[in-house]
């Protein structure tokens, strides 16, 4: 039996089992009432709404929009606030006048928070129309400002931009309203929740409230309408042609640009409209629960091969409806327990399993687009000798002196955050910068390590450094598991898998109180010299470190030592055979194989190294937070946020990771902005998300890469002025994507 027939059998097996489960759920009365419950169907409709938008955007412009859940949430919020207060809220943007206020102490005008349309809540139709008008503007904005400039960029840049959009939209809502849910009034004709009994042959098949039935039908109607448009109109034909070959669309008389823009607007309007309708049946909308539905929505889109509206919608409904079934099963006595309650989060495992089966076994994947050109990943320079021998040590000594002797408590805290952030960014640099694989699960690795450290040090009494190494080992193992799908899939597909994985780990492992120690978080026995709560002073060589205030200056020193070691290991790896093999593989996998590079082995190695670094960071976080780390520190949003800052700093070099560390929430840059310029700290993520989008478009090499490039040009200009070039010397200065950091 060769590999192809094996895959065929496997595919039949997988579909057979899936079909058998579905049939069982429909036949068995006990499970059917759960599977066909109104709330499950409404959830499916919501996932379907987001998934339809994802598919539409992909077919129109080739962008996998990770932010579509956030768009649905943002628009639903917009609508809910209009209904409640009659105000149209504006995204919080930094006030450029604020620094003047901070420096000169003069009161300057604030940017308005909202446009008041009426001083009382709006009725359904005006609120809906205003929200949809906003959707049109949003769609146009997304196309013209973000994704049109990126149309020839590598997939990484597009993923980065949509992740940035995700972070920005969520942060904007959280900044305005905290995480408080916003009430959504019921739809006008469905004020009384009448129950509808769906008959089947004399008996009731299932019971659903009228509004839930309405939104489910609406979603299906939209799916059918989209199918008809794509099947039978010239516009749909041209979009399909453009997806195959952009020149094809031009021949049909449509510009690919127009098609992409129109599809963006269609996508945001449909996502927004359906999001508003479904949220109205769920009585409230919150900025966390709706956004995470992007994972089942992407799963549904994948099951529909990112092209079939019908299959996507069907898959979305099943993924929504399974939630009720899984939650029902978890009430059974045989279900795995943790702290005497059912182990939570299993409904988030279903999308992961579905994605892995579909991508890994059945070998399906996103149809690739026949774009005319596609760009390259940011340049990854070899660390020059001077930076390894002198620059690095000098920087480390300066930071150590500053942290020990000069920084106030506020900046000492920020310094630890920056150093730890740089470690996480370094782990992203290895996997994404050197190997070109997008991992959106780095904080899951860190979290596993942190919880391992807590167990070993607190419950088993292991002495100080060893739990970190074991924890990092555990993270490495997890990294190797994630590496397996990476052997078959790459690019955006891998980003989807790792995101689903991060969400599953988040809900199943970190949501499990017996793993995480409940609300307190994991406790750690930290040696007192690292303990940040130890307000000690340290004397050596006649100098005194620390001012007798928390946090302990030695905490920062500890983080610094770990970071320096990690930076050296990564820089050495980049300078060695392994680094060159990774870069070779990033450039061209088959040419790398032809020159003797073991592509699978190198990928697995890269995932292992990256997860190891993230694990070390997790261990350091655990020791730095002896009183218990907040569970949300390791959730999937945190992974996205750190991915964002790593990219902003510079995804392809060690110095980029350091720059990324400066930017992380609570790190030196934002503490400085807050302390000196009065920019509120909650703006970090809003600015970070926006910065990420801008960076993807304008400066894909990140801050470090950009600085290095500008520095090099300046140096060349100075040199050129100092002496005239020799006649045979090449004068051309590389201006495209070269730089040295």
């Amino acid at each position: 039996m060769n590999e192809r027939t094996a895959t065929t059998y496997l595919r039949v097996l997988v579909y057979g089992v899936a079909g058998a489960i579905l049939v069982f759920l429909l036949i068995n009365k006990e499970y059917r009432t759960q599977f066909l419950s109104g709330s499950g169907i409404a959830q499916g409709a919501l996932i379907g709404a987001i998934a339809l938008g994802v598919v539409l955007t992909y077919r129109g412009s080739g962008v996998v929009n990770f932010a579509n859940g956030a768009i649905a949430m943002y628009v639903a919020y917009q609508y809910a606030v209009l209904r409640a207060t009659g105000k149209f809220f504006l995204p919080p943007l930094p006030n450029p006048l604020k620094p003047i206020e901070g420096i000169f102490g003069v009161k300057m005008p604030n940017i308005p928070v909202a446009l008041t349309i009426r001083n009382a809540g709006l009725a359904f139709w005006p609120a809906l129309l205003i929200s949809l008008g906003f959707c049109v503007l949003l769609g146009l904005g997304l196309h013209f400002v973000i994704f049109r400039p990126l149309r020839h960029a590598p997939p990484l840049a597009k993923v980065v931009a949509s992740v940035g959009l995700f972070v920005f939209l969520q942060a904007a809502v959280i900044r305005r309203f905290n995480t408080t849910p916003q009430a959504t009034p019921p739809l006008p004709t469905f004020k009384n929740t009448t129950q509808v009994h769906i008959p089947f042959n004399k008996w009731t098949l299932f019971t659903i409230s009228a509004d839930q039935l309405f939104v489910a039908v609406i979603v299906i109607v939209f799916a059918v309408a989209l199918w008809l448009v794509f099947q039978y109109t010239r516009f749909g034909l041209a979009t399909r042609a453009a997806a195959e070959n952009e020149k094809g669309a031009v021949v049909l008389g449509f510009s690919p640009d127009f098609l992409a823009g129109t599809n963006w607007v269609l996508s945001t309007v449909i996502t927004g409209l359906l999001g508003i309708l479904v949220a109205s049946t769920q009585t409230f909308v919150d900025p966390v629960g709706l956004v995470v539905l992007i994972v089942p929505a992407l799963t549904a889109a994948l099951l529909g091969s990112f092209s079939s509206f019908g299959r996507t919608t069907a898959a979305a409904f099943v993924l929504g409806m399974q939630v009720q079934v899984v939650q029902y099963i978890s009430t059974k006595s045989w279900f795995p327990k943790s702290s005497a309650t059912a182990w939570p989060g299993f409904e988030f495992l279903v999308p992961v399993v579905a994605i892995v089966l579909v991508l890994f076994l059945a070998g399906a994947s996103l149809p690739t687009r026949g774009a005319i050109t596609s760009g390259r990943l940011p340049f990854s320079p070899t660390p020059p000798k001077w930076s390894v021998r002198y620059g690095g040590p000098l920087l480390a000594i300066v930071i150590a002196l500053a942290g020990l002797f000069f920084f106030s408590p506020l900046y000492r805290g920020a310094l630890t955050e920056t150093l730890i952030g740089a470690m996480i960014c370094l782990s992203v640099v290895v996997i994404t910068g050197f190997v070109g694989q997008i991992s959106l699960a780095q904080l899951s690795f860190a979290g596993i390590a942190a919880y391992t450290v807590s167990k070993l040090s607190y419950e088993h009494g292991w002495p100080f450094p060893w739990p970190i190494l074991v924890g990092a080992g555990a993270a490495t193992l997890l990294g190797l598991v994630v590496a397996l799908p990476a052997l078959r899939v790459r690019g955006v597909n891998l980003a989807i898998i790792t995101l689903a994985f991060a969400v599953a780990v988040d809900k199943v492992v970190f949501g499990n109180t017996s793993v995480t120690g409940g609300y307190v978080g994991p406790l750690v026995k930290t040696p007192s010299w690292i303990d940040p709560n130890n307000a000690g002073r340290y004397h050596f060589l006649g100098l005194t470190a620390g001012d007798g205030l928390q946090p302990n200056p030695m905490t920062g020193l500890f983080c610094l030592v770990v970071l320096v070691i990690l930076c050296y290991l990564v820089a050495n790896m980049r300078r060695s055979t392994t680094g060159r093999q990774m870069l070779a593989m990033r450039s061209n996998e088959r040419a790398a194989a032809a020159t003797g590079v073991n592509v699978s082995g190198t990928k697995i190695l890269a995932f292992g190294v990256s997860a190891f670094i993230a694990g070390i960071a997790g261990g350091v976080i655990a020791y730095r937070t002896p009183g218990g780390v907040g569970a949300d520190q390791f959730n999937y949003t945190a992974s996205l946020v750190f991915f964002a800052f790593a990219y902003l700093g510079g995804i392809s070099s060690v110095s980029g990771a350091l720059a990324g560390g400066m930017l992380v929430p609570g790190g030196l840059l934002f503490i400085f902005l807050q302390d000196k310029l009065g920019v509120p700290s909650e703006m970090t993520l809003v600015l970070g998300g926006a910065g990420l989008v801008l960076s993807a478009i304008l400066n894909p090499e990140g801050i470090a890469g950009g600085l290095a490039r500008d520095g090099k040009r300046l140096l060349m200009r100075i040199r050129a002025r100092a002496r005239p070039p020799a006649p045979d010397e090449p004068v051309a200065v590389p201006v495209t994507t070269q730089g040295t950091a």
Partner: protein, 251 residues
């Protein structure tokens, strides 16, 4: 000595037999050519030998069966190749491009490199390849900064840096003018003098007939003729395949 031998090698794509029962062999120290019209399956044949498409039948390299062996392992035991589309590593400079081919990595080596990267390990092989193609002066340039002709030389140099026993060259003369093509021919003779056998796939009949010791001709995936350049030049089936019925001596 016989370096490479295939027996009844086939490559199928769906219902299409791109390479159909080809049996051939390459003697050490020779330049063996493979010619055939567009779409005859020449590149697929190289892909099959070097492990980039699944094959049936047998492929023996240095007397050892290698069919089913992953591509990177075939490269490491001395089966090098170049690509028609060059496929340089655009993010690495020329020297580093060659280093990737010249250096193997083990787990222990990886760990040692983390502590102390050994930069000069492959210097000899890299220098040999740079000199063989006259690329010394470009060692620290990036592939994006050099001309197309130079890029072609780099792609050959990269394959040479691995010190292969057999170098499979896929259309190295495509896009070169007559002078450049002749220079390439003399460089290939130099490579053979270094003890590396060459398997050359090309369109350029002039180059193939000039430099090859033995030539195979394929059409629609199957061998239609083989022999020394003189024998092949006179073979009526070759003339038919290449020039249609109006037989004229190929350029």
């Amino acid at each position: 000595m016989e370096l490479l031998r295939t027996n009844d090698m086939c490559v199928t794509f769906g219902g299409l037999r791109a390479v159909d029962n080809v049996s051939f062999h390459v003697e050490e120290g020779k330049i063996v050519g493979l010619i055939g019209p567009n779409g005859a399956g020449k590149t697929t044949f190289i892909d099959g030998i070097t492990g980039f498409v699944p094959t049936t039948g047998s492929i023996k390299f240095l007397g050892k069966e290698i069919s089913g062996m992953p591509a990177h392992k075939r490269a490491r035991i001395g089966l090098g190749r170049t690509w028609q589309s060059l496929e340089l590593f655009e993010d690495l400079n020329i020297e580093e491009n060659l280093q990737v081919a010249a250096e193997d990595q083990s787990v222990l080596g990886f760990l040692a490199d983390l502590v102390m990267p050994q930069r000069k390990r492959s210097k000899q092989d890299v220098d040999f390849a740079l000199d063989a193609l006259g690329l010394r002066g470009l060692a620290h340039r990036l592939p994006t900064e050099i001309s197309q002709g130079q890029r072609k030389l780099v792609s050959t140099a990269r394959a040479l840096a691995a010190r292969p026993q057999l170098l499979c060259m896929d259309e190295p003369a495509a896009g070169l003018d007559t002078n450049e093509s002749q220079e390439l021919g003399s460089r290939m003779r130099g490579i053979v003098d270094e003890g590396i056998t060459i398997f050359l796939v090309d369109h350029d009949m002039g180059l193939v007939l000039n430099v090859c010791d033995y030539i195979y001709v394929i059409e629609f995936g199957a061998t239609i003729a083989q022999g020394t350049p003189d024998e092949v030049k006179r073979d009526p089936r070759v003339i038919e395949a290449y020039l249609g019925s109006s037989a004229e001596a190929p350029e």
